[in-house]
């Protein structure tokens, strides 16, 4: 029986070039697609992952498939797209609409559909996948790990998988957001090994704010605080740093965790509205004002301040989506689509432009300051107390 099967689908690993990152750019004659290939051979025999080198091949063509075929002419081995972990897309393409790009990778049975989607900000996507990282072996690894860590620690970016992105494009009543990525420094320099020899690399890549889509088209970028707000409302935030002015010129910082978001929708006489209840726990990270944290009253006052800055953050996120870009990135419409289908059917085409921007959104933020750290007061005050005791 075995003899009849032949060796279908048999591929030796050293006949494959494993593509870990793909960059898609718009050029005059169509598209330019670039592969970052992970297992390029180095001059000396090495067996460790870290010592392998990455190579970028790119091809140009009027369609994406033709651009890909052109790479096959340059690349001696067969390209293997099963392990693509990042696709970086230039903002030009995103502005035109991503459906053209989405189709190719969704259709390919070989790809795992587990990669992250990113957009650049007016920079070439190809340059992004070329920038070497001082800490990770491959540019793609660098981006993925950075993305995962930043979305948990900072909540500016969000790690949106490919299928999640496509889902939000296709579903009615929700529009996607995508994290963006920028190169800081000279992009030519970043592709050079010499860049890594400095203790502070001159060029590196940096995750940036969220790009807001309307259907499949990029309409603009949120600012930092707004990105945080979007992530909190969408339930993607795990850790958020909230800063508040506690008196005059001094600031206090809290790290907000355990964020629970409850959305309470209402449809009153065809007027949709939503109450967003955010409850979270915070831990004080830094405070420079003279609060007596042992007094519950003072602590409450501080908590209130944090709550209000958190609310500001959320409010700004809502207002940018409602007023500036008119795009329902929070998926409010999705609720009405599911629970009030008759109503939503009528307004589906008007939703983004005429209904969503005028929707009433209320916030109910409750914060609990759980820990205040190892100090009871500010450092200055602790010092004073100690001096008093010494005297």
């Amino acid at each position: 029986m075995f003899l009849f099967t032949g060796c279908f689908d048999y591929k030796e690993l050293d006949d494959l070039s494993i593509v870990t990152a793909v960059a898609i750019d718009k050029v005059e004659s169509g598209y330019e697609i670039s592969y970052s290939i992970a297992n390029a051979k180095k001059a000396q025999v090495s067996s460790k992952e870290g010592e392998s080198q990455t190579t970028v091949f790119s091809g140009v063509g009027p369609t994406l498939s033709e651009a890909m075929r052109e790479i096959d002419l340059k690349n001696p081995r067969s390209t293997y797209l099963g392990h693509v972990s990042v696709i970086v897309m230039s903002s030009d393409i995103a502005k035109e609409g991503v459906f053209k790009v989405v189709d190719l990778f969704m259709r390919d049975p070989e790809s795992r559909k587990k990669f992250f989607f990113l957009i650049t900000k007016d920079q070439k996507a190809k340059d992004v996948v070329k920038v070497l990282s001082p800490l990770e072996a491959f540019p793609s690894q660098n981006i993925v790990i950075n993305l995962q860590n930043s979305s948990t620690n900072q909540s500016i970016s969000t790690n949106i998988g490919y299928s999640q992105f496509v889902r939000s494009v296709l579903r009615p009543g929700i529009n996607p957001v995508l994290p963006s990525i920028i190169i800081s420094g000279d992009s030519e320099e970043g592709a050079n090994m010499a860049n890594l020899e400095n203790s502070e690399p001159k060029t590196y890549i940096e995750l940036s704010n969220l790009g807001i889509f309307k259907n499949d088209k990029l309409v603009g970028f949120a600012k930092r605080e707004e990105s945080r707000g979007i992530n909190i409302i969408n339930g993607n935030a795990k850790n958020v740093i909230v800063t508040t002015k506690c008196d005059g010129t001094n600031f206090a910082n809290a790290n907000i965790t355990n964020i629970h978001v409850d959305r309470d929708y209402q449809l009153d006489k065809n007027q949709p509205s939503v109450n967003i209840k955010v409850s979270a726990e915070g831990s004080l990270q830094e405070i420079n004002c003279a609060y007596n944290l042992l007094q519950p009253k003072e602590l409450n006052k501080l908590t209130k301040k944090f709550e209000s800055s958190l609310q500001d953050m959320l409010q700004s996120a809502i207002s940018i989506a409602q007023n500036e870009y008119k795009s329902d990135i929070f998926g409010f419409g999705l609720y009405f689509y599911r629970h009030h289908p008759n109503y939503f059917k009528n307004v589906q085409n008007l939703w983004d432009d005429d209904i969503f921007p005028y929707m009433e959104v209320n916030f109910d933020v409750s914060l609990k300051l759980e820990t205040k750290g190892s100090l009871n007061d500010t450092v200055q005050k602790e010092e004073d107390i100690r001096n008093e005791k010494a005297n």
Binding site: F2, T5, G6, C7, F8, D9, Y10, K11, E12, L13, D14, L16, I18, T20, A38, N39, K41, V45, S46, S47, K48, E49, E51, S52, Y80, G82, H83, S85, E110, R112, A137, F138, Q141
Partner: protein
């Protein structure tokens, strides 16, 4: 069967006949003693008889007993000798075939001139190495003695552990030329007589010129169902044999073999060691889990490696895949041959390691370690990850002591490997199904091979994958014997 030749009355004629039968072999020794009225002679084979015993006991008693009776008739001398001679084991011999068997077994024969029958006295010399520590099945705790080539000593090692009148030993002699004794030991009140009869019948049917080891018997006991996995346990540990007998199993002891066969040998038995019952039950459960893990590793690792790296790369995590890919760079041969070369090299190494005199052992380990490990990788013939895969496979295989079982594992490992090389994970699954079907279909003496896993038996799984404490194992396992199952006393479970 040809008529056996009776002994002559004439003493000299008897001696001559025996010598002629054996072509005047150099080690036949005889001496004629003339008494006043009678003539006696004794005869033995020097190489198997003990000179000391002959000189000390036989000669002395002959002299002392017979000198007063010099005027007695032949018959009376014969009777007198039979009654008084100092020896615990005495037989009378009347024909030449029997005579030679006794001679070869180390007996000394006394002929009395004018008498038809001769007296055989045991004067065996010790031709074995004595009870030594178990070599192949080592343990950390528990008895350390092991069986030897001496049949009686082996029986003794069992008998001294089970001092029960119900321990019956059924002896058969097999082999036209070697006349090897084969003993079947069992608990008469536990094992069903049918099973014993079946085994003994089968043993008696064996007509072969020689039995040199228990392996011969093993082959005769399961000739019909062809299987790679052994269906009987062979062990050199008396404690394991006795444990099995107490479980209601049957032990077959073969003369001149330091291994004893235990029937039936089930799949589960190869995952249990005698130690298991001497240590804390909860810890043993972990060891058993480890053995099952090793079983899976040793059969499947190379196959899974090849299926995943050459067909189904999608299921390897990114970084691991790149790491493997980089290691494979520059290796000129396909992965399947890479693995086959290494596995074959390793098997050659193992085989030579068994045969090589221990004085040369270190050279082979140096060559083996260097050639297999370092040099092959540095030369770029194999990739390091394949060395790891093969090493894992081999080490895991050594958790088992039964050589037949290890060989069966080796066979299936290669089958899995080839299937995966042809069809990837699909081939792996196909062979996996065939493998399981095959195992499930085996049975031995009416017991399913995979019991207690298939058919799943709640009651006996307590001594399967895990080992429960002694007071929970109130009954003997019931899959090969249903009689007299109680193991513990009535109120022992509360202790």
């Amino acid at each position: 069967m040809k008529e056996t030749k009776k002994l002559y009355k004439n003493l000299q004629k008897n001696i001559d006949t025996v010598k002629a039968m054996n072509g005047n072999s150099c080690d036949i020794n005889s001496r004629i003693i003339h008494l006043k009225k009678n003539t006696l002679a004794y005869m033995n084979i020097e190489s198997v008889a003990s000179d000391d015993k002959v000189s000390d006991f036989l000669m002395r008693s002959l002299r002392e007993d017979v000198k007063d009776e010099i005027k007695l008739s032949t018959k009376k001398v014969y009777q007198h000798l039979k009654n008084t001679i100092l020896n615990s084991k005495m037989r009378t011999v009347e024909d030449f075939d029997n005579l030679f068997y006794f001679l070869a077994s180390g007996f000394t024969i006394i002929f009395i001139d004018g008498n038809h029958s001769a007296i055989a006295l045991e004067t065996k010399s010790v031709l074995d190495r004595g009870v030594a520590e178990a070599n192949d099945e080592k343990n950390l705790r528990g008895p350390k003695d092991s069986f030897t080539e001496n049949y009686m000593m082996n029986l003794g090692l069992i008998r001294k552990r089970i001092k029960d009148s119900n321990l019956w030993i059924n002896e058969t002699m097999i082999g036209r030329r070697t006349k090897t004794k084969v003993g079947v030991a069992y608990l008469q009140d536990v094992v069903s007589q049918e099973k014993i009869k079946k085994i003994v019948d089968r043993l008696e049917k064996i007509d072969i010129d020689g039995i040199l080891d228990c392996g011969y018997i093993l082959e005769y006991l399961s000739p019909k169902q062809y299987t790679d996995f052994p269906k009987a346990v062979t062990t050199e540990r008396p404690d394991l044999v006795c444990g099995s007998i107490l479980d209601g199993k049957i032990a077959i002891i073969v003369e001149n073999s330091p291994y004893v066969i235990v029937l039936p040998g089930l799949f589960m038995d190869f995952f249990q060691t005698a130690d298991d019952y001497y240590q804390k039950p909860s810890n043993i459960s972990l060891s058993r889990a480890l053995r099952f893990l090793a079983f899976l590793i040793t059969i499947t690792t190379p196959a899974l490696y090849i299926a995943m790296t050459t067909f189904n790369q999608e299921i390897i995590p990114d970084r691991l895949l790149i790491s493997i890919a980089v290691q494979r760079e520059g290796v000129p041969i396909p992965t399947i041959f890479e693995i086959l070369i290494l596995i074959t090299t390793f098997e050659i190494l193992r085989e030579s390691d068994i045969r090589i005199p221990s004085a040369m052992g270190s050279s082979i380990s140096i060559v083996g370690a260097l050639v297999l490990g370092d040099a092959a990788v540095n030369a770029g013939i194999v990739s390091p990850i394949v060395v790891i895969v093969v090493a894992m496979t081999s080490i895991s295989g050594f958790l088992f002591t039964d050589i037949d079982f290890i060989n069966a594992l080796r066979f299936w490992r290669v089958v899995f490997l080839l299937a995966s090389a042809f069809m990837g994970l699909v081939g792996f699954v196909v062979i996996g199904i065939i493998f399981l079907t095959k195992l499930c279909s085996l049975e031995i003496m009416g017991t399913p091979y995979l019991i207690p896993f298939s058919p799943l038996d709640q009651a006996i799984i307590k001594d399967g994958l895990i080992r429960r404490s002694r007071n929970k194992m109130k009954y003997r396992p019931d899959f090969f014997t249903k009689k007299n199952r109680r193991r513990l006393g009535a109120d022992q479970s509360e202790i």
